[in-house]
């Protein structure tokens, strides 16, 4: 019998060894990843390595398609865009030095720098830009396809000049396209066949600040500084290697930062963890604004919510000030209309927020004819379902606060904070009365207003499901206004109109906190939003060693 036990032990040992061998092939850490053709196998030439924690793996290496946050971070660093967003949410030159308009705004011309170069030595030219845009239109790729709806022709005038002809003038066309479109090398991508099926998962050729060099799925992604990046400081970037390391659990990532296993958290620090990190002398925290905002949006297809009085009353039961104070621990900004104060030029500062006044809201509703016939303390017909994404901890708490305050005004809110994918499906399908959610990134107010309020816009994020001819006319009129001052006035007018209609109740513009090892690195140049944050190629190229 000892023999049998012995056999089991031996079998166990054999299994363990076999698995080890299976994991390792023959030797560990050799040739496990995929490498680019740029050759350089990561020997440090005195440059620093900056390690960044991210919660998700890369899904897709195709810059024309991918959209997960991690994908965007890594591919935005590798492939240049025409314009970038600076710390003040302004568009500034990247690959394009500037852009001009012709023909009353219906032709937009980008003028490119002549010193961008692909990592294989080929110059970046207007042909690459034209090829990229044409491919996105042909294959309807990613969210940039929607930015190109107006384009009827693309003309390469010379190596540094590319012109887009639009079906009608559209004021923010250049900004939207310039910021969102990553330019890819024509000489590589034109040979890839069907670009909607192109995985682009090895031999990356880029022209951004950092070029993806190797990827070990599930573990890490390594980028190398591009020596020819025109915006790098004199003498080249101090950070030569950027390594993204995957930590699916944010708590583990925080421990890794404390321990020095990583130097920067790419994802914002959860509000609950800020205080504990602030007490750590090795860790610095940077506050970054947002390009989105949290909001309650009312479904206009619900006949009761179609009543402006009801929407205004709902706006009066939302105590944004105390929500910001308690749930965000003061780390957010109040909003009045649908335009975020981040876009200071367009924000209509004359607007007054709806006062927090549940009793007043109730009076207003009673005057409008809503009554409590059955004596249950709630006004009849005023029961609505609020959907929200349960993975957003702040918003699930907001939902509870608003529900309790609404009850005081006689409005019954039933909360349905559900799993994220189900939430997305329901909001897309219009299956809700009130949508409590957070916009991620609006790079300009005009695009935002078109996407969210235009009844003819098939973009699918008009969560009000509003079809208001007057609002449509205002939006369409602003969109074709080429004169800047008039344009701003028209945006402010829409801001006021939507605020008066109370199509939404804006909650807050959240500030993001990013934590990094201040004892090792300094000099990040962050841009607003958690999509850009600390980790844009430009920001990383400006980083210096601390001390």
């Amino acid at each position: 019998m000892n023999g049998k036990i012995g056999r089991i032990r031996k079998a166990g040992a054999a299994l363990a060894i076999a698995t080890l061998v299976a994991v390792t092939g023959c030797s560990l850490n050799e040739g496990g990843g995929e490498s680019t053709g740029s050759g350089d196998s990561g020997e440090q030439a005195g440059g620093a390595t900056l390690r960044i924690g991210t919660t998700t793996d890369m899904e897709n290496f195709n810059p024309l398609q991918s959209l997960s946050k991690t994908d965007s971070w890594i591919l935005n660093a590798t492939y240049p865009s025409l314009l970038r967003i600076d710390e003040n949410a302004q568009k500034v030159p990247e690959l394009a030095e500037d852009y001009t308009t012709e023909d009353g705004g219906s032709v937009v011309v980008f003028h490119l720098r002549d010193d961008f170069e692909w990592s294989d030595g080929t110059p970046v030219t207007a042909k690459d830009v034209a090829f990229t845009a044409q491919s996105i239109m042909d294959y309807q790729l990613g969210n940039v396809a929607a930015k190109l709806t107006w384009v009827t022709g693309i003309e390469v005038r010379d190596d540094q000049t590319v012109a887009f002809t639009l079906s009608e003038p559209y004021a923010p066309f250049a900004e939207g396209l310039g910021f969102w479109m990553r330019v890819v090398p024509e000489h590589i991508f034109s040979k890839a066949g069907d670009l909607s099926q192109f995985a682009n998962d090895s031999d990356w050729v880029g022209a951004g600040a950092y070029i993806l060099e190797s990827a070990t799925k599930g573990q890490r992604y390594t980028l190398k500084a591009n020596e020819n990046y025109p915006y790098a400081p004199e003498g080249g970037a101090a950070v030569e290697t950027v390594e993204y390391v995957v930590y699916p659990d944010v708590n583990t990532m925080i421990l890794a930062l404390r321990n020095g296993d990583i130097d920067l958290m790419g994802t914002p620090v959860p509000v609950s963890a800020v205080a504990s990190l602030e007490g750590d002398e090795n860790i610095a925290i940077e506050t970054v604004g947002s390009l989105g905002f949290a909001h309650l949006t009312y479904n206009m297809q619900n006949p009761v919510l179609a009543d402006q009085t009801v929407r205004q009353a709902l706006s009066m039961v939302v105590d944004t000030e105390s929500i910001i104070e308690t749930i965000l621990q003061g780390d957010g900004e109040q909003m009045v209309g649908p335009i975020s104060p981040t876009f200071a030029d367009y924000d209509n500062t004359d607007l007054e927020p709806y006062p927090f006044d549940p009793a007043g809201a109730r009076t207003m509703l009673e005057e409008a004819g809503y009554a409590d016939a059955d004596g249950d303390g709630m006004l009849d017909d005023l029961a609505f379902e609020v959907v929200c994404d349960q993975s957003n901890a702040n918003l699930t708490r907001v939902a509870e606060v608003v529900r309790d305050d609404a009850a005081e005004a006689g409005i019954q809110l039933d909360l349905a904070c559900i799993e994220r994918n189900t939430f997305l499906a329901r909001t897309r399908g219009g299956e809700y009365d009130i949508d409590l959610s957070q916009w991620g990134v609006f790079d300009n107010p005009m695009d935002q207003l078109r996407s969210t309020y235009l009844s003819t816009n098939p973009g699918g994020i008009n969560y009000n499901l509003v079809a208001d001819p007057e609002l449509d006319a205002l939006v369409n009129d602003a969109a074709v206004t080429a004169e800047p001052d008039q344009f701003v006035e028209k945006i402010k007018g829409i801001d006021a109109y939507v605020h008066d209609q109370a199509l939404l109740t804006p909650l807050y513009v959240e500030n993001f906190r990013f934590a990094y090892r201040g004892d090792r690195f300094t000099g990040f140049d962050p841009s607003p939003s958690d999509l850009l944050g600390m980790v844009t190629g430009y920001s990383l190229s400006q980083v210096e060693r601390a001390g």
């Binding site: 309807q140 995985a199 799925k217 699916p248 583990t252 973009g459």
Partner: protein, 317 residues
């Protein structure tokens, strides 16, 4: 014997087919749409339709299912929605890590669990028995993510004995790489064994206690054999099989545990791939992973069945 093996084998294939079918339809019954997750913001209906047809989600459900089965029989698990690469490649790149973690946990649980269960059964009511019972009941209530974070805080962060997450330090070579591998494996392995071991030892104890009450044990004792000999030669022979079978049954929980463990410890295995694919609704990857897991569990159970039949004539029908 052959007939038994054949019937067991066909039952195994049936089980796998049912698992594949249930997974396929469950995913498609989800109240969520994978095409919605691809683009945040503006997305025209045309784009959504293009994606649907790219994913093959525009065909009738039954046709999708038959296509999938047809591919599966040829060993083709399809292409990931999001990563555009064959699911087989994805799984193969992640599977070794899960085999290492879950496989080691499996073996360790057996090696520690069997003696624990035996000693507890032999010394019923004694200190070992009480400890096993206490441990068995409490570890049943342990929640892996909490255990994992606790281990990371104490042994990784405060004491600094172990690295925080990841599977290996990429800069190590040769023997140092193996050392790094084991160093990174220690905490996730410990947390996985911790939650597996208690219930396992407890069940084995009950089993062993039953065996020790059997007539042939009593007669062996009556024949004057030493208690040690009775336990390790006679009783354990009959308890080893149930021990193995139990572990086969525990495979399911082991895999569930691996998903959570790999996620918290940032370990790059199949468990975490499942976690990520659920968030992205990447149907082909999820189906592929479940097929592989179903086949693993069913094969393990089939093997234990056949093994016990070979060793225990009483099972033969």
């Amino acid at each position: 014997m052959l007939r038994y093996a054949a019937s067991r084998g066909s039952r195994a294939i049936l089980t796998i087919w049912i698992a594949v079918t249930v997974t396929f339809f469950l995913l498609r019954l989800l109240p969520a749409d994978p095409t919605l997750l691809v683009v945040e913001g503006d997305m025209t209906p045309e784009m959504q339709d293009a994606l649907r047809s790219q994913y093959g989600l525009d065909k009738p459900l039954l046709q999708q299912y038959l296509l999938y089965l047809g591919q599966l029989v040829q060993g083709n698990l399809g292409v990931s929605f999001r990563q555009l690469v064959p699911v087989t490649d994805l799984l193969l790149s992640r599977l070794p890590w899960t085999l290492l973690l879950a496989g080691s946990a499996f073996v360790l649980t057996l090696l520690i669990g069997i003696p624990l269960g035996v000693y507890a059964a032999v010394g019923r009511g004694g200190p070992v028995d009480r400890a096993v019972q206490f441990f068995g009941i409490t570890s049943n209530a342990l929640f892996i993510p909490s255990v994992a974070i606790l281990l990371l805080v104490v042994f990784g962060s405060n004491l600094g004995w172990f690295p925080i997450g990841q599977a290996i330090d990429p800069d190590t070579r040769g023997l140092a790489a193996y050392a790094s591998l084991l160093h990174h494996l220690a905490l996730p392995l410990f947390s996985l064994v911790l939650v597996q071991l208690g219930p396992y030892a407890l069940t084995l104890r009950t089993n062993m206690a039953e065996v020790l009450g059997e007539d042939y044990i009593t007669s062996a004792r009556a024949r004057g054999l030493t208690p040690r000999r009775v336990v390790w030669r006679h009783a354990l022979r009959n308890a080893v099989l149930p021990a193995l079978m139990l572990m086969g049954l525990q495979l399911g929980t082991l895999i569930g545990g691996a998903v959570l463990t790999e996620t918290v410890f940032a370990y790059p295995g199949v468990g975490r791939l499942i976690f990520e694919s659920v968030q992205q609704l990447d149907f082909p990857v999820l189906q592929g992973a479940f097929v592989v897991l179903a086949v693993t569990v069913v094969l393990a159970n089939l093997l234990t069945d056949l093994l016990s039949m070979a060793l225990n004539p009483r099972i033969r029908t």
